[in-house]
């Protein structure tokens, strides 16, 4: 099932780090929930400083993959999980990975700054120090002057930026972003994508980013992983060799279109499979 052609490719363009040892490595990771196999022998590696995007048909186990990497869910025995070169349990990753779920999940009783420092507070950083750190970061996240506002007073894009800031302030080797811009309108999303790339290049974090939008996956990623229909594994690993920094008009470049065609084809195949298996299940039940 794992058709992943393992391309030990050059790291992100301009990366000076040695990518010989991957930051995160998953080998034959399987996860079943009762009768349902969500992930089946999934292999993936992420190098330091890399921006990896994951696309796949709905219900392909992307979220299960994320929950495992975030440490929230333990995979079935038999697979290998390595982080920073050490073999580990998923639970060891709790507090080691900065995780941003689909919904912003801002706490309505905390203002912008106090929402942003939530992770730091949990870590035990004194509040005043954490607040000062967050205040310095506000302009970069387009939130200057909004520090004392509460979530219900903010637009969807701003709430998402607060959530991203919370994720960035929790400085960990790996950032997990689960469709962070899924709920935003197209214009805001495009702006947020460019902005995220700027921030990523400045801070040089490693990012694993789930999306269902192929354009977004290519535009952002150094590498795109296409997942198979359930049970999920990596169907295709596509290196995106587009120059950085990426301009918005890159989406019309021939190379971009070529990559998009390859990816869409792979996703299409899997979508049909997952659609058919769903139909079969309906008929048999």
């Amino acid at each position: 099932m794992q058709a992943g052609l393992q391309t030990k490719e050059t790291g992100p363009v301009g990366s000076l780090e040695d990518a010989a040892e991957p930051l995160l490595e998953l080998r034959a990771v399987t996860k079943t929930f009762g009768e349902v196999t969500a992930l089946a022998r999934l292999d993936a590696t992420i190098a330091r400083g890399e921006f990896v995007t994951v696309v796949g048909p709905s219900g392909c186990g992307k979220s299960t993959l994320f929950n495992i990497v975030a440490g929230l869910e333990e995979p079935d025995t038999g697979g290998v999980l390595r982080f920073e070169g050490r073999s580990c349990h998923a639970a060891d990753l709790l507090g080691q990975v900065s995780f941003m779920p689909q919904r912003d999940l801002l706490l309505p009783w905390r203002n912008v700054v106090d929402n942003a420092i939530l992770a730091l507070e949990v870590e035990g950083v004194p509040r005043q120090q954490a607040r000062a750190q967050a205040l310095r970061m506000l302009p970069e996240f387009g939130l200057a002057g909004f520090e004392n506002q509460y979530p219900h007073q903010l637009s969807g894009g701003m709430r998402q930026r607060v959530a991203l800031m919370r994720t960035f302030l929790f400085e960990r080797g790996l950032m997990l972003l689960d469709e962070p811009f899924g709920a935003l309108d197209a214009l805001t999303r495009a702006m947020m994508q460019r902005w995220l790339l700027d921030v990523w290049q400045k801070y040089r974090r490693t990012i694993l980013f789930i999306t269902h939008d192929v354009d977004e996956a290519i535009f952002l990623g150094d590498r795109v992983l296409v997942m198979t229909a359930r049970p999920g594994s990596v169907k295709l690993e596509q290196v995106v060799d587009l120059p950085r920094p990426r301009r918005p008009e890159i989406v019309t470049a021939p190379e971009f279109i070529r990559l998009k065609r390859i990816l869409l084809e792979a996703i299409e195949e899997e979508s049909i499979k997952s659609f058919q298996s769903a139909t079969v299940r309906e008929q048999t039940s």
């Binding site: 440490g71 507090g95 990975v97 999940l105 949990v122």
Partner: protein, 253 residues
């Protein structure tokens, strides 16, 4: 409704005041116009006059009842919240505790009053225990429902930051439960005064319930109404106060 009446002179408040004035006027007119005997319905003016002339006695009784209600209320809220916290922190306890709590709660708390009077005497202690029982169940069940209302994904988010149970409790569960918890505490204010008075009527050395009971024996119905009026005033003030605190705390809802 009455909380809104006390808080701000809004349109709702004006309507509330108007309603109260109309009710009192109709009452007065009915009692005077039909010349109703006092055991049916005394006039409001007679009741107010009686309150004034018995002010020493009523103030003392009100203080007695208020102390019982407040002490029981405080203890009850603490017990209710503490139980909900324990059950949430130790999930196995839940399946043991919840059926017991539900079983005890399925009988009106007044049903336990003979036993409580027997165990704690007819002094203040039995009233405090009764009020605490009534309040703690309401607060317990609501607080638990509030804890359960927490977003699973928010819990996961905090876990991913490395937060343990206590950090999740203080940073997420308690604030999430606050709206329900405070609603239960507001509703319990009135309940605490009612339970204190009812228990006093079953045996006491003082308090508004005791006055009502004595007045009935002496066929003094104006006095009964006086005590009821004072009790209502206490209940409404208590209710309004907790309601105002609630609105201050829950600025985000």
């Amino acid at each position: 409704m009455s909380a809104a009446v006390m808080a701000s002179p809004s349109l709702a408040a004006q309507r509330g005041i108007l309603g109260a004035v109309l009710l009192v006027a109709a009452w007065e007119g009915l009692a005077r116009g039909l010349d109703l005997p006092s055991y049916v319905l005394p006039a409001v003016s007679d009741i107010l006059a009686s309150i004034w002339s018995n002010r020493m006695l009523l103030t003392q009784a009100a203080g007695y009842t208020l102390f019982e209600a407040l002490a029981g209320y405080g203890v009850g809220c603490l017990i209710g919240i503490a139980l909900a916290v324990v059950i949430t922190m130790l999930p196995p306890v839940r399946s043991v505790m919840l059926p017991i709590a539900t079983a005890i709660n399925s009988v009106p708390v007044v049903g336990y009053s003979p036993l409580i009077l027997l165990w704690f005497g007819i002094g203040v202690a039995s009233k405090v225990v009764m009020v605490a029982m009534a309040v703690s169940f309401t607060v317990f069940l609501s607080t638990l429902a509030g804890f359960d209302r927490v977003d699973r994904r928010a819990v996961d988010l905090l876990r991913s930051f490395g937060a343990g149970r206590f950090k999740i409790l203080f940073r997420l569960r308690l604030p999430t439960a606050l709206p329900l918890m405070l609603t239960a505490m507001r509703v319990s204010t009135v309940r605490s005064v009612i339970v204190a008075i009812v228990t006093e009527m079953l045996g006491a050395y003082g308090g508004l319930g005791w006055i009502i009971y004595q007045a009935v024996l002496q066929i003094d119905f104006v006095q009964v109404w006086s005590a009821i009026f004072v009790a209502s005033a206490i209940s409404l003030t208590f209710f309004g106060l907790i309601g105002a605190i609630e609105r201050r705390i829950l600025f985000w809802t």
